[in-house]
Each structure stands twice: as structure tokens, then as C-alpha cells.
Amino acid sequence: MVDAKLVEDLAVDLLRLAAIELPSDVKGALEKARGQESSDIAKANLDAILENIRLAESMKRPVCQDTGLIVFFLNVGHDFGSVKGVPEAIAKGTKRATEEIPLRPNAVHPITRKNSGDNTGAYVPILNWSYVEGDYLEITAFPKGGGSENMTFFSMVKPGEGIAGIKKFVIDSVISSGGQPCPPTIIGVGVGGTADLAMKLAKKCLLRPIGQRHSDPEIAKLEEELLKAINSTGIGPMGLGGNITSLDVHVDYAHCHTASLPVAVNTQCWAARRATARIYKDGSVEILSHRR
């Protein structure tokens, strides 16, 4: 059985890593974006972002004050063994991380708006479980900012509208978001399935590193086309005008009912925080997202 203390400590470490240090693909994409901007305002905003990323790392502080609603993705290897106690350990780690890093307590009751004070609550931290081949438990901390999560859209597109209907929904969503999700963003698109699955795919897409295309060439082409279109809007960094509105677009799909075409859009901000590690059956731990 997995050592609960090990999981708790790892949850704290992953939340710290995620909050303070952006993954290298994100940093690289932001630096590249800086080189592609021509207006003073766009450049100034990207300079502020890059300077902020450096300061966060050197001062060991969260890169953004909105340290997000706490979300984890867990891939359980079939040969890993029991995951009994893991949810409790992760909740404990979340509470500790809130104090130790510190994180901003963001979890509130949806109706009374009362803040729990420790980033936990009903269904929170949110745990997304999958099962994979292997003898490890892979944990990704994915704290999700409110400003970008608010820019989430869903539509039951008419199947007859086909791929043009999907594209229109995505581009209209990005345009209506404007500067609100702190562009340059990453856009996750889930197509097909049921409504809930489409949304889940859209979010899960955001875990994929920037620049990595979908394995299906048709979907990869759609991603590239959408990215080019989004970066022709002129929205730019922070919605203040410019060439780079999104760093990437990731699409995933599921088969769906012949009568429907669900499309979900989930937005990630430039502070695209994620940190991943594996715990192997023998108790060893490997950090995958950040070089250590």
C-alpha cells in the first residue's frame, strides 16, 4: 500500500513547484512571443510577465496571486497497487501547502461564499482519476486560476454545421473572452462525447506541453489552423492589442451520439501552472515536469 505521508509531502512539493516555477515549454513560448510582438504596449506586457516569472523563481514566491482552485490529475498504474488513503493525503497536502508556500485560500462555498480558509471543501481539491499501464502512480498538480476558468464555453453545435461550426464556436469564444483570461492563453477544445466528457477533454488538453500536436493529423491540422486564426484577431497580450493572443491550441475528441456535436472550450492563462511526478511501486519518486 502506498505510504500516505509520501503522497502528502509530494502533493505539497508539486503545489509549490507549480505555483512558483512555470514549466519550461511555457516559459520558452512566452519568450518567443516577446520576439513576435511589435507594439510597445504588447512588448511592455510580455516584459512584465517575463520579469515577474524571474522574480517569482528567485524570490520563491507564487508566480501569480491567484494560486487557483486546487486540481489534481492522477494516473494509477494497474500494477501499482492500492491507492487507499491517497485522497485524504492529497487534501492534507493541500492544506499544508496553503500555509507553507503560502497559497491564497480560494475555495468558498458556492452559495454562502464563505471561504474555507485552507483551499479544501466539498469535492475540493478536485481529483481526476485515470487508469494506465504501469507500476506507478502519476500525480499532476494543476492549480487553476479563476480569471481563465471563467472563460469556459460549451455549445451543442448542430451536427450539420460540421467542422465550420466547431471553428466558429472556438473563435467566437476567444473573441468574447478578450483580455479577461490574461492572454497569451492556451486554448483547450473538447469535441464530441457527452457534455461532461467534452468539458473534461477540453481541460485535460491543457496538460499537453505547448507545441505538441495531437497524434491524429486531421486534429493536428485543426489545432494549427485555429491557432493561426486566434493570433489574427489582434487581441494580443492582456487584450491590449498585439500579435500573440494564444501560445497554443490543443484539441481532443471523443465519439459522440449521431444526433449531437458537443464542443467545449476551456482557457488557460499565461500562468499555465502544472507539475507532475511519479511514485513507483518501490517508493521512489521522479519529478517529470521540472528539471531538478
Binding site: 504596449i41 511592455a44 506586457n45 512584465a48 510577465i49 520579469e51 515577474n52 522574480l55 517569482a56 524570490m59 514566491r61 507564487p62 508566480v63 501569480c64 496571486q65 491567484d66 494560486t67 503560502p102 497559497l103 491564497r104 485560500p105 480560494n106 468558498v108 461564499r113 464563505k114 471561504n115 480558509g117 486560476g145 479563476g146 480569471g147 471563467n150 465550420a164 471553428k167 466558429k168 473563435i171 473573441i175 478578450g178 483580455g179 479577461q180 490574461c182 489552423e225 485555429l226 493561426k228 486564426a229 489574427s232 484577431t233 489582434g234 487581441i235 494580443g236 492582456m238 487584450g239 491590449l240 492589442g241 492563462c269 499565461w270 500562468a271
Partner: protein, 201 residues
């Protein structure tokens, strides 16, 4: 143009600011999000004072990350939050308390712009998420009010030095940089639709 201003900022200085200008402010500034705006306006309606005089002041749409330090507080990270949520309150708030600069991200609506024109105030964007950069300008935390609203929603009273760069995006003459960008985006929309093979309906 670049300006370095001291809080409280007289209306004559605010009226000089134009969209595209860069501003750095020094002095006492407060944070306020939805709930602090709501509370301040409720008190005002009852004829009661709020904890700090905001005339000529700077209001920052921000819920910071804070840490207890030597019996006081330290601001760890403090970037702006999305300002449109405060659109519900901002015009009335400006009329009631007469701040000179509202700082946030993403811009605000026509009601706020109208109040800014009428009462002499501007809206500035601070780069969203640039929280450590913002926190670096905070010299000390003078106090916190309405703490029971929770850390993000409480009103934090901060002493700042050269807080910025703040980009003026709504001025007191009816100009909005956000509206200008939105116009460009709208002009681009048909071109993008045709790029993607969308026959716009």
C-alpha cells in the same frame, strides 16, 4: 508620456492623463474586490464612513497572497483581478468616494467610463498575473479592514512606492483603449471567418 504621481492625486493631474500614458504611483493605496465594493457602498448608503478616505486615492482590484510577519502582514503576491466584475459597483463607488485611479485588468464598461469622465478618474491596466512585480512595490501593509470577508476580498491598505507600470486605458475624456482594441478585433472577424471557411450567419 510617463508620470510619477503621489497619492492623493489632485483632479488637475488626473485630467492630464491620456490613454497610452504610463503611470507610477507612490503613497497609500487600497485593494478592493466585489465584496469590499459592496460593503463600502452599503455603509455609504447608511451614511456611515468607510475606514479610509479615498478622495484622490488609488483602488486596486486585487486579492493578494499574504503572510504573517512580525505581528503584521507581508504581501507575497498581488496582481490585478478581472475588473469587469466590479462594473456593477464602480460608477456609484467613484461618485461616493471620488478615487482618482482604479487599477485592474481587462478594462471596464461604459458606466464606469462615464463616471470617470464626470468625476475625474482614470482606469489603468496592470499586467495580469504579474503578482511578484506588483508585490515588490509594496513597502508595507498599513492595515487590513473587513478581514472577515476572507483574505482575497478584504480591504488591504498598502504603502506603495513607484507602483507600476500602470497603463492608462480609460481616461477622463471618454477614451478607452479597450474599446479601440475591440474595434480592431471586430474589423478582423470577417477575415478570420473566411480564413476558417466559416460562412457567417
Amino acid at each position: 508620456m510617463e508620470y510619477r504621481l503621489r497619492i492623493p492625486i489632485p483632479e488637475s493631474d488626473v485630467r492630464k492623463l491620456k490613454i497610452g500614458d504610463i503611470v507610477y504611483v507612490t503613497g497609500t493605496m487600497v485593494t478592493a474586490r466585489d465584496q469590499a465594493h459592496r460593503r463600502a457602498l452599503a455603509l455609504h448608503k447608511e451614511g456611515k464612513p468607510i475606514p479610509i478616505d479615498l478622495r484622490g486615492g488609488v483602488v486596486f482590484h486585487c486579492g493578494p497572497v499574504v503572510k504573517k510577519k512580525d505581528g503584521g502582514w507581508e504581501i507575497v503576491a498581488a496582481g490585478p483581478t478581472t475588473s469587469t466584475r466590479m462594473e456593477l459597483f464602480q460608477a456609484e463607488f467613484i461618485e461616493a468616494f471620488r478615487p482618482s485611479i482604479i487599477v485592474g485588468k481587462g478594462g471596464m464598461g461604459p458606466r464606469t467610463a462615464e463616471a470617470m469622465k464626470k468625476f475625474g478618474a482614470v482606469y489603468c491596466d496592470f499586467t495580469g498575473g504579474a503578482a511578484v512585480l506588483a508585490a515588490k512595490a509594496v513597502e508595507s501593509v498599513r492595515g487590513v479592514e473587513w478581514f472577515e470577508l476572507g483574505i482575497p476580498e478584504a480591504m488591504w491598505i498598502l504603502e506603495v512606492k513607484d507602483f507600476g507600470p500602470l497603463l492608462v486605458t480609460i481616461d477622463s475624456h471618454g477614451n478607452s483603449h479597450h474599446a479601440n482594441v475591440a474595434k480592431i478585433v471586430e474589423e478582423n472577424r470577417p477575415k478570420i471567418y473566411s480564413m476558417l471557411g466559416i460562412t457567417s450567419k
